[in-house]
Amino acid sequence: MKKGLTRIAPSLTAAAVAAAFSLAAPAQAADNGKFRIGVVTFLSGGAAGPFGVPSLNGAKVMVEALNAAKVPAPYGLKGINGVDIEVIEVDENGGASKQVEEFRNLAQRHKVDAVIGYISSGDCLAVAPVAEELKMPTVLFDCGTSRLFEENKNPAYVFRTGLDAAIDNIGAARYLVDSGRKIESVASIQQNYAWGHDSWGDFSAAIKQLEPGVKVATEQLPKLFQGQYGAEISAISVSKPDVIHSSFWGGDMEAFVLQGSARGLFDKRTAVLTCGESALDRFKGQAPNGLVIGARGPFGAFAPDTVLSNWFREAYRAKAEIDPTYPAYKMAQAILGLKAAVEKAAAKPGEIPAKEAIVASFKGLSFESVSGTVQMARAGGHQALQGIAYGEYRFDAKTGKATVANVKAYGGECVTPPDGTSASEWIKAGFPGAQCN
């Protein structure tokens, strides 16, 4: 038996070596001279339709145009610093543990140069420390948790080019107050998980600070993806609020608006949907005119009238046959931020700088984007500082098109807490240092 084993040992060793090489194959393929980016977004599950698919389309539009050197100035250099971009798509569905595994795969097997992704706050929080451990430049394009840089006070490799959720709600509260609406009582309906709880916490604190004496009419917390909101709509109707606040997104938001409209919930009161813009073209007149909607920043229907922004809208429309919504803009913004950082770090075109050089130039960077100028001016230069805008939904039955009216924008310094202060502390203190026009 022992003799037999000795005889087959070389074959086993050879097989093991062959297996090791075959497993390592993707790593070899990574050395193809391209700038490889792992793009992680929801490709299945409830968040795929409203967020994942538009953001992936945004990535495809931007990467194709960059590789063809067709993006307007200041991004005329092909790909990233003259190097073609290669994208590896990863589905964000499946939970935080799976995403950590996928992140390690991207970094260690696929040998990506950077990772851009993550819609879910849970995934961002799980992946961020791993990005630091693996020293992988990682751009979080959408997740909104304000805990991201509160828990990681000294980030090196993690950046977020989107805004955090507190800004959505501070902006929404300011918009309601500034538009002179009656706000004696506010009803809340949020998805029953961290996003919903945090959003309502920030909004209710901000509105009470701006309009002292506001009463909470009712707080409804249905399950995520519940789909049926009959009882919640009745409870809100019975509580007779002046304003209804919701951070609903995706199918839940569309179902709530459809069911609420059919029951006249929005006839005599204002509703504010912080993520409402993502369904602007999907409401198709089923949302009431006057519904206050936001885009989590100056994106989508709130994007500025610039050459770069208009080009992106047209390029996206040509590819996807619909207007881009805010997740598409945010993805495009993350890619442009990374490109700007790499090109700033590189000594000459055609060179891919070391990861350490990329993150050093990303820190505190100011770059042009599809939403105007972005300054990485919070969390020690790792978090974008931008303004936010809100407006009212308007549907034109003749053209079948929806637009936003009565738009009011707030600068980043007006709605963002200073570094070192949490949103809740800043709101509680009465927004000290806020610079609002």
Partner: protein, 299 residues
């Protein structure tokens, strides 16, 4: 007083929806003793087919809007009969003598396959087919406004509940089915075509699932994952009522629907737990569910 009205009507509307979702599940378990995990997928298939067909109809231009209700029924019946027949003939008929627990695993595998198949056919973009929901207008009841479509669902679920009960209890086919439930081997010995009865039951159960999905589609945004969401609720209802009992499903749906409505109106913070709270309480008192029967073990 308004809150009381609201609790009752909201509870009834939700209960009617729960019953629609759970009816097919309980019919299949009642006759075939299969705890059909794939039922949520049948619901999703009905919703997608209904939404796609109605969406296509309205995209076509100026068709009479009321035909959309016929299309929803056509979508439910067409997809239910086709998928039910394919699954029963292509998979389940080879598995009937297996253990009940294994059937749970088989139908769970089926759920995963059908989830991906649905994504492959309909994509991951949500379907928003609202026309049939808003077409019927609204009614004011006790100071609150309700969508007539939701009120109509109460009527539909009453009709389906009554239909299932009558077929099982007052027709020859129902008596044969009950004989199969009582003792499959003796039923075969007496000349009952059990294979046919099983196929018929499974297709009816599947079609009830697709009907629930198609009728729900106009009120929601139909997106991936809706099947998995409803299967948990459907199980809660049939477990509370007693697996396999139509009367149980009706009472279970009413109990869960009304309790949830009370929670939403009076204590929204506990709403997430009430369904499981009701289930735990019922099972603590009657482990076989409210209308479940203890099965005599064959020796």
């Amino acid at each position: 007083m308004t809150t009381l009205y609201a609790i009752l009507i909201d509870g009834m509307i939700y209960a009617s929806w729960l019953f629609l979702v759970a009816a097919g599940l309980t019919v299949i378990y009642g006759v075939m003793r299969i705890l059909n995990m794939a039922h949520g997928s049948f619901y999703a298939i009905g919703a997608y087919t209904g939404a796609a067909l109605v969406g296509w109809y309205f995209a076509g231009g100026d068709g009479a809007p009321y035909w959309s209700y016929v299309l929803l029924l056509v979508a439910a019946l067409g997809s239910g009969l086709l998928v039910g027949w394919l699954v029963e003939q292509g998979l389940l008929q080879f598995m009937y003598k297996r253990d009940e627990l294994l059937m749970v695993i088989i139908t769970y595998a089926l759920l995963l396959i059908l989830e991906d198949t649905t994504k492959l056919i309909f994509g991951v973009d949500p379907y928003f087919t609202y026309q049939p929901y808003s077409l019927l207008g609204r009614s004011d009841i006790g100071g609150l406004t309700f969508a007539n479509y939701d009120l109509l669902l109460i009527l539909v679920s009453v009709l389906i509940g009554a239909g299932c009960w009558l077929i099982l209890n007052r027709t020859h086919t129902g008596k044969v089915l009950r004989a199969v439930i009582q003792d499959r081997e003796i039923a075969v010995a007496m000349g009952v075509n059990v294979k046919l009865m099983f196929a018929l039951t499974f297709v009816v159960g599947t079609t009830l699932g697709t009907l629930a999905g198609a009728l729900t589609a106009p009120a929601i945004s139909v997106s991936p994952g809706i099947g998995v969401e409803v299967i948990v609720l459907a199980f809660a209802v049939v477990v509370v009522g007693g697996l396999g009992s139509i009367e149980g499903a009706i009472v279970g749906a009413l109990l869960v629907g009304l309790t949830r409505s009370v929670a939403v109106h009076l204590a929204p913070e506990v709403e997430l737990f009430v369904i499981y709270g009701v289930m735990s309480l019922v099972l603590a008192v009657r482990p076989q569910g409210l209308f479940g029967r203890n099965l005599a073990r064959k020796i």
